[in-house]
């Protein structure tokens, strides 16, 4: 991937969208809408922000990334494969018997997956522990945790948020993929979720709200988060996204939390994405 022009990152993101849609179809596995909402965030993170090296996945100084919304595992798998952590051919085996790629990432399932996730509300506490360990060891790498908006229902998210602020973990970055839907309802209606940036600010973080599909805005927010090191405050990026982003008939339609695309729908989606 590398730090190419914005246009090429967009092309990469669309290609990865095609990949993920194909994986959902082949595996008959759900959560496609949730994968597509965070795909631009993942693409930019792995293209230009995270200091990780597929040749040294255990480097103690690597940046740590936790996909706390583990149900978007196919998106993470596709990005990691694209980044060279494992052969892309492994993606074809997604959820097949004996594949390392389960519907939710297992512990040390493939290089690049730091933490097993799938039950919501676990990633941020683990990330806080990693950031504390980094401080103790005098290491300066970043810890980035990607959460869903529905995940913010979980109390453990806010326990971790308060603790991170108390410990002044300013190399800890939380990204909230606000795609406006949780499994069975509008996230803002199921619980009083908003105003999210103000909530994170009130919990002692610096927060900013961005368009989670605008690659330049994502990169700029990450740069600001990086610059927060030294402020004593962890950084939250509230990323407004669209569930099912990139495919007209999936966008903002929560049926695609669980629906599996047919072969015909896969073809239509690829056409819309400009993929062969």
């Amino acid at each position: 991937m590398g730090g190419g022009p914005a246009g090429s990152a967009r092309a990469v993101a669309d290609a990865l969208r095609g990949r993920v849609i194909g994986m959902s179809h082949a595996a008959k596995a759900p959560h496609l809408g949730s994968c597509l909402s965070c795909l631009d965030l993942l693409t930019v993170l792995y293209a230009s922000f995270l200091q990780v090296d597929p040749r040294r996945p255990d480097d103690p100084d690597r940046d740590r990334f936790i996909l706390s919304k583990g149900h978007a595992a196919p998106a993470l798998y596709a990005v990691l494969a694209h980044r060279g952590f494992f052969p892309a051919g492994l993606l074809d085996g997604y959820t097949r018997p004996d594949s390392p790629l389960e519907e939710h990432p297992g512990p040390r399932c493939v290089p690049g997956v730091e933490v097993a996730t799938g039950s919501l509300g676990h990633g941020l506490p683990i990330g806080v522990g990693m950031a504390l360990a980094a401080n103790l060891a005098g290491r300066r790498h970043r810890t980035v945790v990607l959460l869903s908006d529905g995940e913010c229902n979980e109390g453990s998210v806010w326990e971790a948020a308060m603790y991170a602020a108390a410990r002044r973990l300013d190399r800890l970055i939380a990204i909230i993929d606000v795609n406006k839907w949780q499994a069975t309802g509008r996230s803002a209606e199921v619980m009083a979720l908003e105003p999210l940036p103000q909530k994170w600010e009130a919990f002692g973080w610096t927060a900013m709200r961005i368009d989670g599909h605008d690659h330049a805005a994502i990169a700029a927010a990450l740069a600001r988060a990086d610059a927060a090191a030294g402020t004593g405050r962890p950084f939250a990026i509230v990323a407004d996204t669209v569930k099912g982003k990139g495919v007209s008939f999936m966008e903002d339609d929560n049926n695609w939390h669980y629906r599996i695309p047919t072969a015909e729908e896969v073809a239509r989606a690829r056409q819309e994405l400009g993929l062969p």
């Binding site: 512990p107 109390g155 453990s156 971790a160």
Partner: protein, 311 residues
């Protein structure tokens, strides 16, 4: 036991720079020495056990050896999924310490009585469950536990427990510790009931019963080799624990014996039989009501011996 734990963990931290201690806003003054000697390795995690456990996982994934500490109820029930997924699923070397287990905090009511924690912990994959019978066992187990490569639940009493072992016994995680031989009955105790079991064995001996006795501080993995040997020669086993009779040591022993071919000994499971123990009273009072006294234990065993064998 909590003072012995604090002393020991402070000493162990000096020897192992990877050791970090997380406390769930408890142990006022208890860890002053630890904090003075290892200030950057003590974390008051607040009243947030789910986060504390998750953080311990993140620390262990970064090469540290975390120990989480709070009252047994809160450090198990409150954060069970974090223990299951963050610690066990990843098989991380984190020691979860439950202090004041069983009826230690009887007077505080049902909220503070951990009576099902062994049951919950011993069924988790990769989990080692340790219930020291006195401070000597605690010290020996804790040292070994820090060298295991997976999660550990360390179940402690609170304070002023009698010391049973006059000298360090040859205690090894995963092994029962036989204390007395006897062909009529064998008492198997885990955790803080050990002094009760010893006194009960004395009473049985005085009554002419050849009572064997073993401390089983490791409930998981169960020492099945020891149990098989005992089962082959003793007709009655009596498990004793400050825990529900459902799911604890008694159940573990019964599960093992149920799967063995041939004649097997009867298992008398002694512990808490009646749910929440929320009547006002001290630990001694609560134990008396639950039948966890040397007198009551001995009587139950004598009665069992007198009863006709089940047809």
């Amino acid at each position: 036991m909590r003072n012995a734990f604090a002393r020991e963990i402070t000493a162990l931290a000096a020897a192992d720079p990877r050791l970090v201690l997380l406390s769930g806003d408890i142990g006022n003054r208890l860890f002053d020495e630890f904090k003075a000697r290892h200030p950057d390795r003590f974390f008051n995690a607040g009243v947030a056990e789910a986060n504390m456990t998750g953080m311990a996982a993140g620390m262990a994934l970064s090469g540290l050896r975390p120990v989480t500490y709070t009252i047994a109820t809160f450090n198990t029930y409150r954060c069970y999924e974090q223990i299951r997924l963050d610690l066990c699923y990843h098989r991380l070397p984190v020691i979860v310490v439950g202090v004041g287990a069983g009826l230690s905090y009887a007077g505080l009511g049902g909220t503070h009585q951990a009576l099902e924690d062994i049951a919950m912990m011993r069924v988790l994959p990769h989990m080692t469950v340790l219930c020291p019978g006195d401070t000597v066992e605690l010290r020996l187990l804790l040292r070994q536990a820090l060298h295991l490569d997976g999660p550990v639940y360390l179940r402690l009493g609170m304070k002023n427990e009698p010391v049973v072992h006059p000298a360090d016994p040859p205690l090894v995680i995963g092994r029962a510790l036989p204390l007395r031989e006897g062909e009529d009955v064998c008492l198997l105790s885990t955790g803080t009931t050990l002094p009760i079991a010893v006194a009960a064995a004395d009473r049985l001996a005085a009554a002419g019963v050849a009572a064997g006795l073993a401390s089983l501080p490791t409930v998981e993995p169960l020492d099945t080799g020891f149990l098989a040997a005992v089962a082959d020669r003793v007709p009655l086993l009596a498990t004793i624990e400050e825990h529900s009779v459902r799911g604890g040591l008694g159940s573990a022993v019964a599960e093992f014996l149920a799967g063995r071919p041939g004649p097997r000994p009867r298992v008398l499971r002694l512990g808490i039989e009646s749910g929440f123990q929320h009547r006002v009273g001290s630990q001694a009072e609560a134990r008396r009501r639950a039948g966890l006294t040397p007198e009551a234990v001995a009587e139950r065993i004598l009665a069992a011996r007198a009863a006709p064998a089940p047809s």
